[in-house]
């Protein structure tokens, strides 16, 4: 490996290479050209006269294209080359590479330029888990094309490589005999095209040979995407940069599932391993982005509705009405060695689907879609009542039925040790985590509103509201940890409290399930030194048995988590606390050039002075990208009420002036303005009092 990895992508096709532009993958090495969860190129090495090249610089021109400047030489001595090599690569279904060699000498040169190519056709899961292949490979030269193939029964994948310049093609690559005049140049276009299925349709690279522009024009589509979003004006350079970064990354994360069509896209979960449809991630990100790019929510609702479960299928953990967890297109899903066709093992997405449907209506007033999805909404509610209550105690809980390849923890904190008692013990299954009850409550309250206002079913609305009120009453009794003044993380398989203090309390505020009388105590815990690090809210409180400031779900701060907690604080009127959390996360974003990581260490802000990134392969990640957007919403106090947008701002202390212009919604377009208070907020120990609302 030579230097940092360079990634470019379009939808779920992406290229990961080293800083020379070379790909030298092994089964466990994550470089290559990937499309639909399959690697279509695992070797792609450029040599000139048998020598590898050295990188001078890499330009990330756009999320879908990059340019590598290279020179010959060993790299260990000072390079004074008479040659420059430029590789300009753009992804789009396959990829297109424009290879240019410049001769700076006063003499002509004769060169042998060689591209070595090969492919292992690994499934993404194989790359992550290092599994062996079961099918057979083929390599064929056909005219001036190199065809790499993989076949297992009816499953066929192929990569076709060709060049515009004259090349000698053999089974391992392409060789060019090149003559370049003094001060002259030589160039060739290389096309790598992916194909699936027997005699299947080839994808057409969006960059065609010789064309400078993608088809459809990706650059212009990015410009339009940014122009369509509200405009942010602020004195804070860092906030402006973070906002722009979020919009660009969100554009990169747009993914058009093969079945939706029409160029409509929804947010995929993250790069590079999660460029696919995820129930939870797509919904959370759509919620965060609603005031900015509401079309993401519309596509998410449609696509997840189309795939809503209808059967009881233990392998896929599918139930009627359940919203999917994850869809995958690779070989292991195709041969049912993994359950992702799609996999439904997720306890929250079905409820969050209803929450998004209502929030979408409140913002956009797109009644047509809400009417269209009435059956899906009914099926989702039925899932909560008939399939999600595994313990028969009136609470949503989870336990996988696919014991081999299904997910153990089906809530957002899905790592093995994320759900623990104070003393660090892990509970058995089923587990009824607290935020699931909050989501269930909110889902019913919101479905009731839609039943009354859109679906014309006031009786169902009454019934849903009764159920919600009952759930809230029971929840505030059964989950309340008396000696801590907060809600337990979960009820275990015996219905006993899993009593550790966690960030999940903030999601409960967001859902509105917290009794008013308990809110102040919950907020005191969230903003206290055990959970609030100064940057954001820790997933697990300091002092708990499994607390670890760099433990995935047991002490790190997740920007997405904190953004929903800020929304929850606003919901209960704690404006200053919400601003404090927003300020912390946005301050942290500065340290990552505006691109918030999935998670960072839970270290006390005053101790490290900067947020310590959690080592992860996934960046940008959709709901981290959405976090600054949701925080802007909470800082400005944006709330749609009928056909108006209410604005009730409270800015963090270091942000002076914010204007968000042309916010789309049922009001058409409108603006929101906020002025800072110019006063310093104490970081800790401030009296807690809900602001007037």
């Amino acid at each position: 490996m030579n230097g940092a990895l360079v990634r470019i992508l379009d939808g779920n096709t992406f290229v990961v290479s080293d800083s020379r532009g070379d790909i030298e993958a092994s089964l466990t090495d994550p470089t290559g050209l990937f499309s639909f969860d399959t690697r279509f190129l695992s070797t792609w090495i450029l040599t000139v006269d048998g020598e590898r090249l050295n990188p001078l610089s890499v330009d990330d021109l756009n999320y879908f294209e990059s340019r590598f400047f290279l020179v010959p030489g060993t790299g260990t001595v000072y390079v004074d080359s008479k040659l420059s090599v430029i590789r300009r690569r753009a992804v789009g279904d396959g990829f297109h590479e424009e290879l240019t060699i410049l001769n700076h000498d006063e003499e002509p040169v004769e060169l042998t330029v060689r591209i070595d190519a090969a492919c292992d056709f690994a499934d993404l899961f194989e790359v992550k888990d290092a599994l062996q292949k079961k099918g057979s490979y083929s390599t064929r030269v056909s005219g001036r094309k190199l065809l790499l193939g993989y076949e297992r029964e009816s499953y066929v994948r192929q990569t076709v490589i060709s060049a515009s310049a004259r090349a000698k093609v053999d089974e391992h690559g392409l060789t060019f005999a090149v003559s370049i005049a003094p001060q002259g140049s030589w160039t060739t276009d290389l096309d790598v095209v992916t194909a699936a299925g027997a005699g299947g349709a080839y994808s057409r690279p969006k960059y065609q040979r010789g064309e400078r522009r993608a088809q459809p024009n990706m650059e212009r589509s990015l410009e339009r995407w940014i122009a369509d979003a509200p405009r942010l004006e602020t004195e804070s350079d860092s906030l402006r940069a973070t906002y722009h970064r979020s919009l660009v990354d969100l554009a990169a994360l747009r993914f058009s599932p093969p079945v939706v069509g029409g160029g409509k896209s929804l947010p995929a979960a993250g790069l590079p391993w999660f460029m696919t449809m995820f129930g939870r991630d797509s919904i959370f990100t759509s919620l965060q982005a609603l005031p900015f790019t509401p079309e993401l929510a519309a596509t998410t609702l449609r696509a997840l509705g189309d795939w809503q479960g209808t059967r009881s299928d233990d392998f896929r953990d599918e139930d009627p009405g359940r919203i999917l967890h994850e869809m995958r297109y690779g070989e292991l899903s195709a041969f049912e060695e993994r359950p992702h066709s799609p996999y439904y093992g997720c306890a929250d997405a079905t409820m969050l689907y209803l929450v998004l449907l209502d929030e979408y209506d409140r913002w956009t007033g797109d009644r047509r879609l809400v009417r269209e999805l009435r059956n899906e909404a009914r099926a989702a509610v039925r899932w909560i009542d008939e399939y999600a209550d595994l313990m028969g105690n009136g609470y949503v809980s989870y336990r996988r039925r696919n014991e081999e390849t299904g997910l153990e923890n089906q809530c957002w904190k899905d790592s093995w040790d994320s759900i623990s008692y104070r003393d660090g013990r892990l509970p058995g299954f089923p587990r009824a985590t607290c935020e699931l009850q909050g989501y269930a409550y909110d889902a019913k309250v919101r479905a009731a509103r839609l039943a009354r206002e859109v679906w014309g079913d006031p009786e169902w609305a009454d019934e849903l509201e009764r159920q919600a009120a009952d759930l809230k009453r029971r929840f505030n009794r059964d989950f309340w940890v008396e000696d801590g003044g907060y809600f337990a993380l979960a009820l275990d398989e015996e219905g006993k409290q899993v009593d550790s203090l966690t960030s999940n309390n903030g999601h409960l505020l967001w859902s509105g399930i917290v009794a008013k009388s308990k809110a102040k105590s919950v907020v005191r815990n969230l903003m206290g030194p055990r959970l609030f690090s100064g940057w954001g809210i820790r997933t697990l409180a300091e002092g708990e048995g499994r607390y670890n400031p760099i433990g995935y779900h047991v002490g790190t701060v997740w920007p997405f988590d904190s953004s929903f907690i800020a929304w929850g604080l606003r919901r209960y009127g704690f404006k200053e606390e919400a601003a404090l959390v927003a300020g912390g996360i946005l301050d942290a974003a500065q340290f990552f050039d505006g691109r918030l990581p999935e998670a960072f260490g839970g270290y006390e802000r005053g101790v490290t002075k900067y947020p310590v990134q959690y080592p992860t392969a996934c960046s940008p990640q959709a709901w981290s990208t959405g976090a600054p957007l949701l925080l802007l919403r909470t800082m400005l106090g944006l709330e749609p009420v009928d056909d108006r947008l209410l604005v009730d701002p409270m800015l963090p202390d270091n942000i002076g002036l914010v204007a968000l212009l042309d916010i789309p919604g049922r009001w058409g377009r409108t603006d929101a303005f906020a002025r800072g208070r110019g006063e310093l907020l104490p970081r800790r120990g401030r009296a807690l009092s809900p602001a007037r609302s």
Partner: protein, 111 residues
């Protein structure tokens, strides 16, 4: 005794309406190959109302598979989406129609 495919389509015809397809309007044709012979099933959907026939007509979505494979799908012994990913079942045209339609295939039988 009728095969699972015939049972499945006959069941659709009898129901005449399928709430899961209320969002859908369009036609699906299933071309099923059995030792070189081709059986054809045409399903026309109008907001959930279903008509099933053997008519030879253009369809918005054409699905091709071996009869034996489709029998197993219709009997709940095989998963349709995995079959598509595997290339064992081919689709042309409007894929979304098949996404909606595959929800009507029966649940897997418990072992």
């Amino acid at each position: 005794m009728r095969d699972a495919t015939t049972e499945f389509f006959a069941g659709l015809e009898e129901r005449g309406h399928e709430p899961l397809l209320e969002k859908a309007t369009g036609s699906l044709r299933f071309d099923l190959i059995d030792n070189g012979r081709r059986a054809r099933w045409l399903v026309e959907i109008d907001h959930g109302d279903l008509t099933v026939s053997h008519r030879n007509a253009k369809a918005d979505c054409v699905v091709r598979a071996e009869q034996a494979l489709f029998d197993r799908i219709a009997a709940g012994e095989e998963n349709a989406v995995a079959a598509v990913l595997r290339g064992a079942m081919g689709i042309e045209g409007n894929r979304q129609l098949l996404v909606l339609f595959q929800r009507l295939f029966p649940a897997p039988k418990s072992p």
